[in-house]
Symmetry: C2
Subunit: 434 residues, 2 copies
Amino acid sequence: MTFLDEGFQPFGGAIWLEDTFVYQSGVPHMSLPPLSHRAQKTPASPIRRLAGLAQAAEERGTKVYRLNIGQPDLLSPREFIDGIARYNEQVVAYETSQGNRALIEAWSESLNAQYGIGVSEQQMLITMGASEALIFTFMVCCDPGDEILIFDPTYANYIGFSAISGVRLVPLPCSIERKFPIPTRAEIERFISPYTRAILLCNPNNPTGTVATDEELRMLLDVCRERDLYLIVDETYREFVYDGRLPRCILELAGKDPRVVVIDSLSKRFSLCGARIGCMITWNEEVRKAAFHIAQARLAAPTIEQSAAAHMIRTVSSDYVASAHAEYLSRRNAAVDALSKISGVVTHAPEGGFYLLAKLPVVDAEDFAQFMLTDFSYQGATTFVAPAAGFYMRREDGLSTIRIAFVLKESDTREAIRILGEGLAAYNQGTGRR
Amino acid sequence: MTFLDEGFQPFGGAIWLEDTFVYQSGVPHMSLPPLSHRAQKTPASPIRRLAGLAQAAEERGTKVYRLNIGQPDLLSPREFIDGIARYNEQVVAYETSQGNRALIEAWSESLNAQYGIGVSEQQMLITMGASEALIFTFMVCCDPGDEILIFDPTYANYIGFSAISGVRLVPLPCSIERKFPIPTRAEIERFISPYTRAILLCNPNNPTGTVATDEELRMLLDVCRERDLYLIVDETYREFVYDGRLPRCILELAGKDPRVVVIDSLSKRFSLCGARIGCMITWNEEVRKAAFHIAQARLAAPTIEQSAAAHMIRTVSSDYVASAHAEYLSRRNAAVDALSKISGVVTHAPEGGFYLLAKLPVVDAEDFAQFMLTDFSYQGATTFVAPAAGFYMRREDGLSTIRIAFVLKESDTREAIRILGEGLAAYNQGTGRR
């Protein structure tokens, strides 16, 4: 099993990291066809380079606590593994482009049971993770040059999807000092242009942990209704809300509003990141037909995981998610408590998800994160955090900030953050590299 | 197990086929955000509508021989199913963005053993089928408005990929009467414009069955070298060549030429369409880095199928592909022989792949294909063929043509085509619907 941050780095960073372009001998020296502009604009993962450094630290014998990664360590449901074992077709045939029917039925039934939203097969399209659902949604709702409003910082891969699809993400700045609130209606309206097609909300938010209130969700819906915009809500972390908040699906408030597109995923809820099963849910028939045509072009999502997921959703106990929720809550509390003991750190308890952002008393958090991997260890161990600048459209707003994923068990989380504090002290006293 | 053409139609066409857009009650009647132009341009599958008719015919008790479908009925290798059973991780974690290392090693070693092309992990990126590899390649090599030359007719989904990526496919007409030859250098050069970025070749070809000779491949390479173009070669059907031809990988001729991008897939070779495992191979470091950045944005391809495929490639006997080859050859011969007995049909034995095109003595092959499903049966059976117009960029060139996939066992293929002949006679004598 590999623990790579969201699939970012290849082979621990060992293979594709060289930056030299030396064409092989034996090829005539003619000029080469150009790379597309969009390819040049598609960003590399913000943590790709550091992953290689973490591997090098481990090879030197340093224990590395990986708080950089969004890969849960919780065991996947036994029911999914059973579902894999139950797959017994002799021809691994294409699934339909819309997705495995049993999976769609089971998933929609479970959503209806929990949220009372009354969706059926007609509203759902199964995709290769939330990623593919988001790419389809960007392509269907926007042409190149169109704009989507996002709240900044944002999930780094939204920036990649925008480069692929030619969509311009327009960032509304949200500050860590104010605990990353959803912007007000007036703030949002100031950013709407004739090119705006949608507002994209990740709720609960990766990386900020902000969970929108019902009033905020209604305000976003109102703005979209008044200004003819799509409201795209990525609910990958829907169940992971804390402090008495209740999980909320936007469709509870939006009903059958055709402006709303929900992105969902089994990856985090069931610790099934590698199964790559997501979906797109919308009552907008034009949108889902257009997305379906794109889905036809790529034929189908993988057959076996869909079959196993259908079995899992039908049979897994609700205890699974409840227990994952309790685990993340205890890890969140441990992380926030440990961070509160380091002077100069600005952070707050995230309302949901399993990430938090923390502003450090450093000028360049990427340099500090690198220092932790290359020049520092404490009792044989160090801590790997993700510099957050790559999550900011306005990079300058995030230069001092790191993202922490609380995906390690409570005691490891505490120890990792204690080491982070020791590293900060060494870095700022110049006893480290600088 | 479902036998749906390349994942095209949802649920046998029963669910998403309605053409009415009636928004649900309870939603205020405001105007709606528009659908993107590219979504409107992404074509539906050329056979989607007919799939519903085939299902209806079966529900009336008619046996339907499905020659429309590109889903092999050959059993997947036992070694793949074993590979699934051997997967025993407790956390289904993200695979790396580049792909499962063991799979890349096994795949590159098998390519090197067979073709001596010396590729390693550095040249390969695992994708969700050849489809995703092609989408990545279009995006990396072309910006919206750029052009790719294709030989017309072409694989219908290339048209979908072009709509998604904003790339303009420029069709070079190839005629069935001349057996769909690769166009000459002069013909190709006439279509190259300042916007041309690549030539895309499917070799062996879906849907024409044409296999390029070494001279033709060298000519294409020369043109690309001289005019600074990429040469994209989709080798999904590489091993299925007949009549003494030998499987040929373009890299045998191109060496390490950075202009060449190879698209490969396990789907057809190993009857693993549903596993969705393809790859992109290129010596061009800029191209593969850019593709890798896009791959990072979608995180990773599914974990379990990749793990099983690695096991399969390491353990499967070469007899598997040899036996699939022999089976398709016998089906091809049966199909061509049976078609030769129907007067007025223009076709020829395809040199490779498992499709053929046949021009029928009808004005509108789609109308005829529909007639076969709605108004005709012969001793309780009928034949489902794909109208080929959707495979032609210049639709008017393909209005009388059908695509036949020889994916049924030899005796069924013969019977299905005999019924096709009976249907043609009825259709043209007006004893059918018209």
